[in-house]
């Protein structure tokens, strides 16, 4: 279980990015954090990943304090961030540095298979499309089999078709190995498609404004009436609780163009 306890983060220039955030996530949950840009949702993710340190409060994974990058916590960035000098398979195996070469190769191949790119292991990153590169980045994070996978707007830069495809893929991968998935997004539809729980964040300073459940079974069909109904309910919920927030005003039509 991942526990975030009274976490605050302020920067040297005095701005408070997060204020007194507390929550816990159980294995098997998919948590989506939505909010307008600059509300501190990426900051929160970076704190959980151990890349940045909280100013106050604690973050623990199974009672193990996260004081730096943790072997059980994987992070997928908004951009693929592949290393251009490594071939795709070597990029995927990048995190397996302590293992023998043959074992690394097999694990990387399996991870590539998982994201549907089994044949592209010998390519250079520059030869990939944006969607393929992001899949490789997902494979790279999955290869170490983390129990917490963090995703920082991983599909924001992709076109609508590729995004939909990757969302489905991620959901299927998650179904096979129920771990904790925390997804930061500004796309409410994406949050409802994937998450079992949605946090809505308020900005300056960042706090959790709402903690909403999404009681829909997987796999979710975004065209089904139940999904449509759930989306409307959440929209209404958001509008009611935090009508000042931009994300509440963001209609699904706007989401698709963005």
């Amino acid at each position: 279980m991942l526990k975030v306890c009274n976490v605050s983060k302020s920067y040297e220039n005095g701005t408070e990015a997060l204020s007194n955030v507390s929550f816990s996530v159980r294995p098997g949950e998919i948590l989506a954090i939505v909010g307008s840009s600059g509300c501190g949702k990426s900051t929160l993710l970076r704190l959980i990943s151990g890349l940045d340190q909280a100013s106050r409060g604690s973050i623990t994974l199974d009672n193990d304090a996260i004081a730096g990058p943790h072997p059980q916590v994987g992070l997928i960035f908004q951009e693929p961030r592949l290393l251009p000098w490594l071939r795709v398979a070597d990029n995927v195996a990048f995190g397996l540095h302590a293992l023998p070469a043959e074992y690394r190769r097999v694990r990387a191949q399996r991870a590539l298979q998982l994201v549907g790119l089994a044949g592209l292991g010998s390519r250079w990153p520059r030869q990939l499309s944006g969607g393929q590169a992001q899949r490789v980045a997902i494979a790279r994070a999955l290869v170490t089999e983390p129990s917490v996978l963090l995703l920082d707007e991983p599909f924001a830069a992709l076109d609508a078709f590729t995004r939909r495809d990757l969302q489905d893929h991620l959901q299927r991968i998650w179904a096979d190995q129920p771990t904790i998935l925390i997804l930061v997004t500004h796309d409410l539809e994406e949050a409802i498609r994937l998450a079992s729980r949605v946090f809505v964040m308020n900005s300056s300073p960042g706090t959790i404004g709402a903690d909403l459940r999404v009681p829909l079974a997987y796999p979710r069909d975004s065209l089904s009436p139940a999904f449509e109904q759930e989306k409307r309910r959440l929209h209404a919920e958001l509008a009611k609780r935090i009508d000042r927030m931009r994300v509440a005003a963001q209609s699904p039509a706007v989401d698709q163009t963005g």
Binding site: P69, P71, E79, L83, W85, H97
Partner: protein, 277 residues
Amino acid sequence: MTDTQVLSTAAGSPAAASAAPNPLLQSPMLGLVVPVALAGLWETLFQFGFTTGRTLPAPSQIAQALLTLSENGDLARHVSVSLMRVLVGFLAGAIVGSCVGAIAGYVVLVRRLIDPALQGLRAVPSIAWVPLFILWFGIFETSKIMLIATGVFFPVYLGVLEGITAVDRKVVEVGRIFRLSPLALARRVLLPSILPSYVVALRTGLGLGWMFVVAAEFMGAAEGIGYLLIDGQQLGKPEQIVAAIAVFAVLGKATDWALVLMTAPFLRWQDRFAERL
């Protein structure tokens, strides 16, 4: 009317060239066209008596000078002496420059301590070192090689330092999230990221090595291509001076090309604009 015609041909020709690339225009020999044409023009003027070739010798005179020099083995000796000085000086300067640059790039305190002083020394012209180096290292090989190494050191140092400080934070974070040790981070992330700028730094260093070898050989040498220059000046042989300059051009280009060839396998991953042209 005429304007639109000019515009349309101007706009049309690059597109046509890229659609059907002429193999002649792709050849690396293309770079020889301008110098060969100029040399041919000058030779023609010389042959028809428009110029005496006394201030700027004609290509045939230069060729004659080179031939005379190579017949008794002098040219080969001068070339190998200069080449050896550049190679030894380059290796020494590049190794020290890489190490100092890497330490200064990696340790902020070291950078703050030594970088301002080194930047100041970098601005000192090569010739200014000559008297001091002669005083310290004598008039023989050591002072020459030290001078060349000094010339190579600065661009390599600067290239490595800039390369390390310019490494993308985003790529470093990938290394951090997979908990690489500082040493592994340097080897698996920093080193490959700086490699392209490192190669540029080495090439600049090599070019400066060739510049400094002339300064070194001006300070009193009995051998080397720089000696040929001085010798040609003192004996009033312009064709020997131009011949020495031509030899410098060929050697500089050849060593640079060799360096590029040697480093190319490490940079195969690069997505370069030039390759698509």
